[in-house]
């Protein structure tokens, strides 16, 4: 069953130096429970696409349908709650002046999820679910590692009980070992909570590890969309082939880590 459907979506930015076509006439569908990876080089329009799905940016033309209904320019609470995101930079994603618990609780208060008296308990459960100790709710973000902060970001998004989670390079700011653990967590959570992911990344090792299908973007256009195995074994578009060929391998140690990552250990 289709959860998200993007039809002829286009975003053009008007800049002083002329129009920038960030996303051009893109159409695709995401099934409920699926993880769609969106890959493409820097500037190919991935974040712009994510922002339109999240309602942060309005589309120039085209439409986004969610669970059968067209999303209006001004989202209502039901849709905002149902579509959450995890951002790339875990350093700026948490308010330095609020403790972890307050950040995770935001969605609970906004949508009045559960009785007020139970919300701290819910916050602690949310932290536990992402592998963090309950006591962490009292801590300041500055005392957490990058990986821990990213887990808090995930807990905050999931506290809203969303159906679709848009992840914009959620692991690219983390070192490889932490990356592997966070990816495993994301996979677990998707299975456990029947979530749907739009997973933006430029790391093909990550794609292989999390994605059911892959959408390849180039200069704002969707150039190839297929099942992950198929994209890796028989890429059709020359651009996809060059992407796969261009996976940089730094040294043996990293190669080993990447292999481990790909095995999901």
């Amino acid at each position: 069953m289709t959860l998200l459907s993007v039809q002829n979506l286009t975003k053009t930015f008007q800049t002083p130096s002329g129009p920038v076509h960030a996303v051009r006439d893109v159409s695709f569908e995401v099934e409920r429970g699926e993880c769609l990876a969106v890959v493409g080089e820097s500037g190919s329009g991935k974040t712009t696409l994510a922002n339109m799905i999240l309602g942060i940016l309005g589309a120039t033309s085209g439409e986004i349908r969610f669970d059968g209904a067209t999303l209006p320019a001004k989202r209502g609470p039901v849709h905002r709650r149902a579509i959450q995101f995890v951002q790339q930079n875990p350093l700026s994603a948490l308010n330095p002046k609020r403790n972890i618990g307050a950040s995770v609780r935001l969605g609970l208060d906004t949508y009045a999820i559960g009785p007020r008296a139970d919300r701290w308990l819910k916050v602690e459960e949310a932290l536990e679910e992402v592998g963090l100790p309950r006591e962490m709710r009292q801590r300041a973000p500055s005392s957490l590692s990058g990986g821990q902060r990213q887990r808090v970001g995930i807990a905050r998004a999931l506290a809203c009980e969303p159906e679709l989670v848009v992840l914009d390079e959620p692991t690219s700011a983390l070192d490889v070992l932490v990356q592997a653990r966070v990816l495993r967590l994301l996979n677990d959570l998707r299975a456990r909570k029947k979530l749907t992911y739009v997973f933006i990344t430029h790391d093909l090792a990550v794609v292989r590890n999390v994605a059911d299908r892959v959408a390849v973007f180039k200069a704002g256009q969707l150039v190839e969309l297929g099942r992950t195995e198929q994209i890796f074994s028989a890429p059709e578009h020359p651009y996809t082939r060059s992407l796969i060929g261009a996976v940089p391998v730094v040294d043996d140690a990293e190669l080993e880590l990447r292999n481990k990552l790909a095995e999901g250990t």
């Binding site: 709650r81 308010n95 949508y111």
Partner: protein, 277 residues
Amino acid sequence: MTRALRIIAANPLSLTGLILVLAIVLAALFAPWIAPFPTHNSAVVDFAYANSAPNGRNWMGTDLVGRDIFSRILYAYRISLGLGIVVLIIATPIGTIVGLLAGYLGGWTESVLMRLVDVFLSIPPLVLAIAVLGVLEPTLTNAMIAVTVMWWPWYARLVYSIARSEREEGYVLAAEVIGAPTTHIAFREILPNCLPAIITKMTLDMGFVIIIASSLSFLGLGVQPPTPDLGSMVAEGARYLPDSWWMTVFPGLAILFAVFGFNLLGDGLRDVLGADE
């Protein structure tokens, strides 16, 4: 708290500021008990001791009608601090709200509010205050209004610039995507990040408000006699310089200490509050 004290104590300048401010605050609070002549805060005369240089009885000398200058300075600190606190307590929230809304909401709210702020900022502060006092009667309350009118735009400017950069931070985006109300984002997410700068500025400004208030009363536009005020004491004494130097020097030093104290402490607080970012 103990950490804050340790950071301040580690810097001799901040420590000096803290000590000066504490001394001034205590002097103002306990003026009726500390002052050797507590009745000299009013229109009393004591011609037997008029115009005497500092001595064992009047440590800082007396004024033309024989009032003890040390006692009057203690009372004048009450007025200065009280005025500073009232001004800042009114000016800071106004400026903060204006700056937050302009900085976070952007768009036409930003244009309108910041244009208004710029208008206020383009007028030299003392001129603005004098203009206000030209319309209103020169009383203590009106002096406070005048100083407040010239003060809030600086807070608007400060908070605006912080809010503008904070609104680009990921945590603001996260709160927006979650769908948190605008008031929550402005006051619960962004405001806490402006507080260190606001508190530091308030401390620094206590000194400046005291100077401005003193300048106004020096010009005869602020606190009116017989209420003791540092500015009017300096103005009055200036007529008898250099012979009766104590009438100007001690109130002048009192202003200086206050300004120095709050400035040094403000700088110290900047270190303390900036450190936990």
